[in-house]
């Protein structure tokens, strides 16, 4: 009896949730809106708009592709301020997005969300991304960070089943086994490597902390937290012993982990946007996935799920707020699976993993030719897994640039891990105090 009630209750909840979101084709809503995104039409944007138009045939959606770099973001902000050019935007990074809501560039969605009965935590796993108690964005665009594995090499090394959880020690031990050397000991194939972006080693700290990676409980910089030292040591030591591809070389040669991985030059890699490049890269092997490693066994892995990384928002000065909101809501929910076509992920809890496979690979059968679908769904789609979030961003840009700068010094061997972190702590605190 109790069980039945629970099932019934769950069904009712599901139905009400679905009701709130999936509306029947609505021909009454009309308008023409422009969507600013970083993804070209072929990377999911065309399909997203087409599916939206099945529901809202009378809303015309144009899109503009901007570059998520400093000049591209200045361009987007200027276009919003100018008015009439931007209605809905995909905004990347907490720092850029916070600048936008703090300065009144984004429409307050709080009341519309309440009217639609859309709960942030229920739908997107977090309500961290609010400003002064109001909601300006759908925290819907995610990034799942995982270990991509060349299955041919994995099997050849006799490593057995793909792990569903592992620690850094276990991952690095696997990398050691996967590293191929010639008779002179020269490394031919690295066993693994971090994602090529310079600050990615801090994701290990994010995995353990779960929130606000750069800050401690007092709101000052947290670079003296031993986790930072541990994570950076992993990076440096693994590169020095050749079991990881060196991040310093990624930087100076402007090469990317995904290319080396897809060409078989590294056996595994920590990745986040590999998905989009699999089919065009045509690897000769199938890809398997393992979750991001943890520091300790059975630790909560805040890198297991998909971390909010991009946000869908409506421009404050949009001329068609209803149409723009309808599109933003759709793009943040049912339409958000197309993020996978661009290599990103969704944080929306309603995502259907099988649909993701179709979006990326065409069909489930097709998907099985490229990837191990089971581990793909577990580690890349990763629906409902714990995720890292941020709600404290004082002097965030400064923190980010300190990490970028000092990581280079350490990778280049110009500073020790400890010296670099000590200086980062000092300068970070200084920047935070200045900002407060």
């Amino acid at each position: 009896m109790k069980k039945l009630t629970a099932i019934l209750l769950a069904l009712v909840m599901l139905a009400s949730c679905a009701l709130a979101l999936a509306e029947a084709p609505n021909t009454e809503l009309t308008g023409e809106i422009t969507f600013y995104t970083a993804f070209a039409g072929a990377n999911g944007t065309d399909a997203l708009i087409a599916q939206f138009n099945e529901l809202y045939p009378n809303v015309k959606v144009n899109y503009e592709v901007y570059k998520n770099s400093s000049d591209g973001n200045v361009g987007l902000d200027t276009a919003i301020i100018a008015g009439g050019q931007v209605d809905v935007l995909l905004s990347f990074g907490v720092s850029n997005t916070a600048k936008r809501w703090q300065n009144g560039l984004l429409m307050d969605l709080t009341d519309r969300l309440a009217a639609d009965g859309l709960d942030l935590v229920e739908n997107w796993g977090t309500d961290a991304y609010q400003y002064e108690g109001r909601t300006y964005v759908f925290p819907s665009g995610g990034l799942s960070v995982y270990v991509a594995i060349n299955l041919d090499k994995w099997e050849a090394a006799g490593l057995g089943e793909l792990p569903t959880a592992w620690t850094w020690d276990e991952y690095l031990a696997a990398c050691e086994k996967l590293t191929e050397r010639d008779a002179d000991g020269k490394v031919l194939v690295n066993g693994g490597g971090d994602f090529n972006q310079i600050d990615y080693w801090t994701y290990a700290v994010r995995q353990a902390k779960g929130k606000n990676v750069f800050y401690n409980a007092e709101g000052l910089s947290d670079f003296d937290n031993p986790l930072f030292a541990q994570a950076l040591h992993h990076e440096v030591d693994a590169a020095a012993s050749g079991i990881w591809h060196s991040k310093a070389v990624y930087q100076s040669d402007s090469t990317r982990s995904r290319n080396l991985f897809l060409q078989g030059e590294i056996a595994t890699t920590i990745e986040s946007i590999l998905t989009r490049y699999i089919v065009p890269g045509a690897p000769t092997f199938r890809i398997g996935y393992a979750p991001y490693p943890t520091f300790e066994k059975d630790q909560t892995n805040y890198m297991a799920g998909s971390n909010p990384n991009s946000f869908i928002a409506v421009a404050a000065n949009t001329q068609s707020p209803d149409a723009a909101y309808a599109f933003a809501k759709f793009a943040a929910t049912y339409g958000n699976k197309y993020m996978y076509a661009a290599g990103h992920a969704t944080t929306w809890t309603g995502v259907n993993p099988d649909e993701v496979l179709s979006v990326v690979f065409g069909s489930e059968e097709e998907a099985a030719k490229w990837v191990d679908t089971e581990s793909f769904i577990r580690c890349v789609v990763a629906a409902g897994e714990p995720a890292y979030s941020e709600d404290y961003i004082v002097a965030y840009t400064e923190m980010q640039s300190l990490v970028d700068e000092y990581t280079m010094y350490v990778l280049n061997g110009e500073m020790t891990v400890e010296d670099a972190l000590a200086e980062m702590k000092l300068l970070g605190d200084e920047a935070i105090e200045d900002a407060r």
Partner: protein
């Protein structure tokens, strides 16, 4: 004696030419890489001419979906040509006024202009951004053209040239009842052709090589200039061969143009550069 001279000349020529060719090595390397496949660029067994020449690289770069070089060239050429023509007209008029017409305040104006010359354009990029944004010129290629129309160096150059022209020409025309505008357009301006060519060459080089302004004022791909096209390839791709194809695509047409107009380039730089 004569024989010995020929001998010395030949030896000198040989080693000077050797250094000259060495000097062009980076560009030859770029050219060679632009015709290779990606992995061949940094391959251990280097060759100047790849086994299979990849002409397709150029097709790819010139017809790329987001930053096709044909469009980048269109933008850059439009900007450079309109900037140059505008600068010449504005500078010629100003030079004529400051050099040939007597009126109170002209020296003051000229001195103020010379003083602002010391403030580089890079230093005012922030206010210019604000101004263009409020004028609706942001993300508009005219944001690169209008500032180029005022160039103190050209005005200085043309003013000096006008001052060197004899005054009787003007007086004679004045007596015939010609207006200042007619005198300038019909009689004086044609005489300044050498200085105009110099100013034009310098204006064109400046405009063609402008990068910071383009980066700040032209954020969307349809307005990109050639320089931004190279930046796009350097930051958005991993294809070393195509990056070099993009660089070569930016450089080669300019070199070809230069070969035909070399004399003007060299003279322009020599005249502005040599003093005393």
């Amino acid at each position: 004696m004569k024989r010995k001279l020929i001998w010395i000349r030949t030896v000198n020529t040989l080693w000077v030419t050797a250094i000259g060719i060495l000097f062009l090595m980076p560009l030859l390397w770029m050219l060679s890489s632009s015709l290779k496949t990606g992995p061949e660029v940094f391959a251990a067994n280097f060759r100047w001419i790849p086994d299979k020449v990849q002409w397709i690289n150029y097709a790819q770069v010139w017809t790329h979906e987001r930053v096709p070089f044909w469009r980048l060239y269109g933008n850059s050429l439009f900007i450079a040509v309109v900037s140059t023509v505008g600068e010449l007209i504005v500078a010629s008029m100003a030079g004529y006024s400051l050099g040939k017409i007597e009126f109170k305040g002209r020296n003051l104006v000229f001195i103020v202009m010379l003083v602002t010359m010391m403030i580089p354009a890079q230093a005012t990029i922030v206010p210019r951004f604000v101004i263009f944004k409020s004028m609706g010129l942001y993300n508009n290629i005219w944001a690169l053209i209008f500032p180029a129309w005022f160039n103190v160096t050209s005005i200085f150059l043309l003013r000096t040239f006008y001052m060197s022209l004899p005054g009787d020409l003007m007086e004679a025309a004045k007596i015939d009842g010609a207006s200042y505008f007619q005198i300038w357009l019909r009689i004086m301006m044609p005489l300044t052709k050498p200085a105009m060519v110099t100013a034009a060459v310098l204006a064109f080089i400046n405009s063609w090589n402008e990068y910071l302004s383009a980066l700040v004022f032209l954020p969307t791909a349809e307005n990109y200039t050639v320089s931004q096209g190279i930046q796009y390839w350097m930051s958005m791709s991993d294809d070393h061969n195509l990056m070099m194809t993009a660089a070569a695509s930016a450089i080669l047409p300019v070199i070809v143009l230069f070969l035909f107009t070399q004399r003007y380039f060299v003279e322009s730089i020599a005249t502005t550069g040599v003093k005393g």
